[in-house]
Amino acid sequence: MALEAFTPSQPLTLGVELELQLLDTHDFDLTPRAEDLLRELAGHSGDWDVKPEITRSMIEIGTSIQRAFTPLRDELRDLRAQMSRAARKLNIAISGGGTHAYQHWSEQRIFPTERFRYISELYGYLAKQFTVFGQHVHVGVPNGDEALWLLHALSRYVPHFIALAASSPYVQGVDTGFHSARLNSVFAFPLSGRAPFVLTWEGFGQFFDKMTSTGVVQSMKDFYWDIRPKPEYGTIELRVCDTPLQVDKAAALACYLQSLCRFLREERPFEPAEDDYLVYTFNRFQACRFGLDGEIVDPKSKQRAKLRDDIIRTLARVEPHALDLQGLDACNMIRESLTDGNDATWLRRQHAEHPPMAALVEAAAARWMAA
């Protein structure tokens, strides 16, 4: 199967996907109700989309194509309102967060579609352990070459998004010490990590051909990279964010990425290089483990810096672009979260105040549903 042609799209357009948790209102464990909720939302108003995810306790929503912060946030608020109404009708709760604090992976049930069955058969228990919840942001690019350039240029900023969105400190009832433990589940997949350093769509096509000839992959969907090109949409897709606990945060993260992409495209502050990836895994780990307090190494200058400080410096550089994109409010939200802490910090604070794990998950659901 050859790599499909890259569909051109309008630069810097945005699309957001959120994987969400479906919860039982009694014990706030995950509950396999995706089909009920999908049926209830079948007649929803708005251009957003809702679809199943790999297990029946998950659901994925996708916004329509957006260009600026306010309409994106409004659409996310609308879908949250409609979903929350449907969920209350069905006596379930919906929550953000990268992991469920105490669900048992073995109790999850695979959603009955051909693709999910294939994944389940291929990856075995890993598929059920993949009951983690992420935010994916698509950014429109005009062609494949630019998609790959932007993809690799963005790699330096991947830790920003991990730390800002981190909302998965608890796994199987235990505080992992990580801010984003979700990405550890993604690491387990053989085709996760980063994309190969190829800067032309033609070169990428050759790589894809080699991979498909080995039989290891069948389509682009089989790559679980942190950032991957999405030729059918004409976008690059950032996949490292945990699903935030509030939709406004999800909109802000998407628009921070949009402003960053505009900054990179228009100012070309550096050229991506293979050696940028020497520190990639280290920086990624720091962001997952310590969140905004992590220390990262600049791949060009080799200087160490606090992640929080690096985000502040980056915000200062991208804000003129955010202004042009009507995304200044998003940057302000990001700046505020640097002092308030990320969602992982909020979850730990909640847990300290109200110890039962179920209370923590209930509070997170109330935050997402704006109850």
């Binding site: 009694h26 706030f28 209350r88 069905l90 006596n91």
Partner: protein, 431 residues
């Protein structure tokens, strides 16, 4: 049914009983002469073994095994135990029922009825439709209208005990399971209300206006008194829980409050069912996740379940079934149609698929002695339907026996095989 067929069936049945009795004559004679407490203990052991075999070999619910062993030991089949033999165990059986009802209360979220008004409509309609259907069919068969109304009121209820015990056995997760809990609680409360008001309706011509008012006041006192008692017990558990904020003491506190609520309700002539249900709901609402209800009191609860269901089996009654079976069958069919019609009519607007509606209709069918005896002021085994036609009540008891013995199948088969909300395996389900 033709007399020849009935005769043949009777002969086969008698032959099987004789054969069984001959086979185990010596042990049976020993057991029959034994202390009733010891006798029941032996039957409970047998129930455990059979239930385990049924579950492992035929994937049948364990509860079914307990019921069957109780029924086989009852006067209806082998006569190992008499109904009065249950009496020494009655406090434990009452506790088992009370604990199950309290836990049912903790699982209900009344807010759901406001979030989904069609669910509220569905709850009221299915109880009403079942009652009306049963009344209609009994009247058509020639039953006195007042007695048919009494039977209809009892038949509107789904057994909350079988529902909750089956729920704890299979741990289902899904729309049908949650609606089943909600609907069985609501239709039982409505049945209690209907039966309390029954004398007013049944004897409206002979009862004077002041007597009617007295009966209405009495019914109101029972319902509102039970409500208040439940609220008070729920608040009490919350307060005591704050004083002794230790995980180890919580089950003991729960047990104490459950016993208190049941005893006070009995002593004051209120409804223990309503009081315990409200106590559970209040405790959950006030304590939230501090209320860690041990699934049915842990392993002690498991023992109580066996005892409870064996007792249900022992209390089976099929007297006069040869003459009353058409009435009993009519009640079964009318309930099924009544509940089904209401559930299907409200399925789509309330958010159910047709498949889920089918499963819910089937799962709502079990009845238990409790549903007949809800009218009693305590968990005693006396029906309190003065003036009701004995034939109609006996037909209702036969129906109850059928729907009780097959109850776990009605509940669990649709949950497992129609909607797949329960996983049919032996994995522990920690929540």
């Amino acid at each position: 049914m033709r007399p020849a067929v009935v005769g043949a069936l009777q002969a086969v049945y008698q032959q099987i009983v004789d054969w069984l009795v001959t086979l185990v004559r010596a042990p049976l004679a020993g057991l029959r002469g034994a202390d009733p407490v010891l006798g029941l203990a032996v039957v409970v052991l047998a129930a455990l073994v059979l239930a385990s075999l049924l579950h492992r070999r035929a994937r049948l619910p364990r509860l079914l095994g307990y019921l069957l062993v109780g029924a086989v030991a009852s006067p209806v089949v082998l006569g190992l135990l008499q109904r009065t033999d249950i009496d020494p165990w009655k406090p434990l059986i009452d506790l088992a029922v009370a604990a199950l009802v309290f836990e049912l209360g903790t699982r209900l979220r009344p807010r759901w009825l406001f979030d989904n008004p069609w669910l509220a409509a569905s709850s009221a309609l299915e109880a009403l439709a079942a009652g009306v259907a049963v009344w209609l069919v009994l009247v058509l068969l020639g039953a006195p209208k007042a007695s048919a109304a009494a039977a209809a009121a009892c038949a509107a209820a789904t057994s909350p005990v079988i529902t909750m015990a089956a729920f704890l056995e299979a741990r289902p997760r899904g729309q049908v399971a949650e609606r089943l809990l909600m609907l069985s609680a609501i239709n039982s409360v409505l049945a209690i209300l209907a039966v309390k008001l029954w004398p007013v309706l049944a004897h409206s011509q002979s009862v004077s206006g002041s007597e009617s008012l007295t009966l209405l006041a009495s019914a109101s006192v029972v319902i509102f008194g039970s409500l208040l008692l439940g609220l008070a017990c729920g608040v009490l558990l919350d307060r005591l829980g704050r004083l002794h904020d230790e995980a180890a003491t919580m089950p003991v506190l729960q047990l104490a409050v459950v016993i208190l609520a049941a005893l006070l309700a009995t002593a004051w002539g209120l409804s223990p069912f309503v009081a315990l249900l409200v106590a559970g709901m209040t405790a959950r609402s006030r304590m939230r996740h501090r209320l860690t209800v041990q699934p049915y009191l842990g392993s002690a609860g498991a023992a109580l379940t066996v005892l409870l269901f064996v007792s249900f089996g022992v209390l089976s009654t099929v007297e006069n079934w040869r003459t009353l079976w058409p009435w009993a069958l009519a009640i079964v069919v009318a309930r099924l149609i009544g509940k089904g019609a209401a559930i299907f009519a409200t399925a789509r607007p309330s958010g159910l698929s047709w498949r889920q509606a089918t499963a819910l209709t089937l799962a709502l069918q079990p009845m238990s002695s409790l549903s007949v005896l809800l009218v009693a002021d305590s968990f005693g085994w006396r029906a309190q339907l003065p003036g009701a036609d004995a034939g109609v009540i006996q037909a209702l008891l036969i129906t109850t026996t059928w729907m009780q013995l097959s109850g776990p199948l009605w509940t669990l088969w649709p949950l497992k095989h129609v909607v797949g909300e329960a996983v049919d395996d032996d994995r522990p389900h920690e929540r």
